[in-house]
């Protein structure tokens, strides 16, 4: 069970999640400081560790559109947040899977800040409103990477299998 900490509209870009002017910062230990930097209050709450791990960002359509910058995922992974969005842009989705950031595609999701969500294997249950929403399965092609816990361990295993 986890709480919704922010609800966002459609087309949330990587410039919004992680502004370009911080792209010289690459370390996953350092990128979280700049998450949603221009949303000043939310950034401050994140930095103050106001939200426990597993807390949920709810997005609209096309979440994570724009740049391929992986910082947009590592910055959220640093707080162990989850993203539930109506749809997710391709590169952001793949980067999330590669880094082990929990992302859920849920076309019908309706939730407000403070709602309690339960993410099951194939649904999102809004325990506050009593509504249940179906998930869209993540690309089957990426299952191996998810099962391995991310692309680095996955690639490592492939490399070792080659000998």
């Amino acid at each position: 069970m986890a709480n919704v900490i922010i609800t966002l509209g459609n087309d949330i870009s990587t410039d919004d999640i992680y502004p370009g002017r911080f792209m010289a910062t690459v370390l996953p230990t350092e990128t979280p400081a700049f998450a949603f930097f221009d949303r000043t209050d939310f950034n401050a709450q994140l930095k103050a560790k106001a939200f426990p791990p597993g807390s949920v960002i709810v997005g609209g359509e096309n979440f994570g559109c724009g740049s391929s910058r992986e910082q947009a995922c590592s910055t959220l992974k640093g707080y162990e947040l989850a993203v539930v969005a109506r749809s997710i842009s391709r590169i952001f989705l793949q980067n999330s899977i590669n880094l082990g950031l929990q992302v859920v595609i849920c076309p019908g999701i309706e939730a407000s800040v403070g709602d309690e969500l339960e993410l099951t294997a194939d649904q999102v249950l809004n325990r506050t409103t009593g509504q249940a929403f179906d998930q869209v399965k993540l690309p089957a092609a990426r299952k191996g990477i998810m099962d391995a816990g991310g692309l680095i361990p996955y690639t490592r295993a492939r490399l070792m299998a080659r000998g």
Binding site: Q71, S87, P139, I152, T155
Partner: protein, 428 residues
């Protein structure tokens, strides 16, 4: 069942007789491109090898390209140190397709790759930049990846677990009216498709207008295909592709253009006639918020930007210079010009375009991404408005969340620089 261009490319690169939408393949990578974010790729790459007992070794240093462009010259000690780290990696691994901060061979990655003949029709190209879609202009399947995916490609030489994407066929006919061109076409198409209309799909471009379009124009439309969410844009290689690679990129070895089968299967076909198209403007804060110029005329603009991987090539600069020649940039408006590569900069000098810009009052900057992504050079002041030939206008994109960015073609940018407000170049 026939195959689309991308299906053919993926089948070949994965040693399969055929593939179809949804198949999972692991194609060989022909070219792996990064820019400054190679600093992160290097970290992830080194982590892959940790604990394996295998000495880190890139699969093929001749197939890795690294081009400094996002923050050149470095805007901060942090970037300068990233540059330094990447130079060390390049030297240690024998990477030859490396373009440092230089006035002879430097430039924006999406211009350098075609310019130096690094991309060929039929290639599988991955790049740690979303605008890697650009290289579909040369008939390659070229798509953006994150740093970790690039690290995996450096180690394994393949793109792991690629799902064969569906393809949207875009057929373009008609002759562009004066002062209307490829940038207006792609903005119009993005408006039609929406910002996620091609998510997880390929845009394959056809029609007489595309066949007659220069490689420069094709780069502009493939570049911005990602703004409709596309995995890649692609123009099947043809006579113009061969001409460009031979005459402009100096390629001498075999060129193998891959074309789709007549009975290839498309998820959707979009037809566009450009013969009555007006100049198009993408309005704040989304690239699919596209309007014909008539609806935004007269909006005051504080900063004009001409350049970027979308519209910083010689034909773009020539068209803008022709409008500005003998004129002045309006008081209260500043104009910045960023040629897409050092080679283009030098050609623009030889042709006199740089003088035209400077005499008009524009500031001509070194080749690079400049203010497009808001890192350095040309940030907006609070509540300022920019009119730019770049490819994104997201909130905060040009370095200031209160700023507004309108996207347009080079001729619209040039005509508007003279008046200081969004101006129709057809009425000059």
């Amino acid at each position: 069942m026939g195959m689309t261009v991308v299906e053919k490319i993926l089948a070949r690169a994965a040693d399969r007789p055929s593939v179809t939408v949804g198949d999972v393949v692991e194609p060989r990578v022909d070219l792996a491109m990064s820019h400054e974010n190679a600093a992160l790729v290097i970290n992830q790459y080194q982590e892959v090898f940790q604990g394996t007992g295998i000495a880190p070794k890139v699969w093929d240093p001749s197939r890795i390209a690294i081009i400094f462009d996002h923050r050149v010259p470095a805007e901060s000690p942090k970037t300068a140190t990233n540059h330094k780290k990447i130079r060390g990696f390049v030297a240690a691994n024998g990477i030859t397709k490396f373009h440092d901060v230089r006035g002879d061979v430097g430039g924006i990655c999406h211009q350098i790759l075609p310019e130096y003949g690094y991309v060929r029709p039929g290639y599988v190209v991955v790049g740690t930049d979303s605008h890697t879609t650009s290289h579909g202009a040369l008939g390659a399947f070229s798509f953006g990846v994150g740093a970790t995916e690039m690290a995996s490609a450096w180690a394994l030489g393949i793109a792991v677990n690629i799902e064969v994407p569906a393809t949207i066929k875009v057929v373009v006919k008609g002759e562009f009216p004066p002062m209307v061109g490829p940038k207006d076409l792609i903005l119009h198409l993005i408006g039609l498709l929406t910002a996620q209309g091609a998510n997880f799909k390929v845009l394959e471009f056809h029609g007489e207008t595309i066949r007659q379009m220069s490689t420069s124009g094709r780069i502009a439309i493939c570049n911005m295909s990602v703004e409709a969410g596309a995995t890649s844009g692609i123009v099947p290689g043809d006579a113009e592709t061969v001409r460009y690679l031979r005459e402009e990129a100096g390629v001498t070895d075999a060129i193998d253009c891959v074309t789709p089968d007549a009975d290839a299967s498309y998820v959707r076909t979009v037809e566009i006639d450009v013969s009555a198209l007006a100049p198009q403007i993408a309005c704040p804060h989304m690239v699919d918020n596209v309007k014909p110029i008539e609806q935004v005329l007269g909006i005051p603009v504080q900063q004009i930007v001409i350049g970027s991987c979308t519209n910083g090539r010689l034909d773009d600069l020539a068209a803008a210079a022709a409008i500005l020649r003998g004129k002045k940039v309006a008081e209260g408006t500043r104009m910045l010009v960023f040629p897409a590569s050092s080679k283009i900069f030098a050609q623009a000098l030889d042709q006199g375009y740089i003088h035209d810009f400077m005499r008009a009052g524009a500031v001509v900057m070194n080749s690079g991404c400049g203010p497009c992504l808001g890192v350095h050079e040309g940030a907006l002041g609070d509540n300022e408005v920019a009119l730019s030939t770049t490819n994104r206008n997201f909130k905060g994109r040009m370095g200031n969340p209160t700023g507004e960015v309108y996207l347009c073609s080079p001729v619209v940018a040039a005509a508007s620089a003279i008046t200081g407000v969004i101006t129709d170049p057809r009425k000059g």
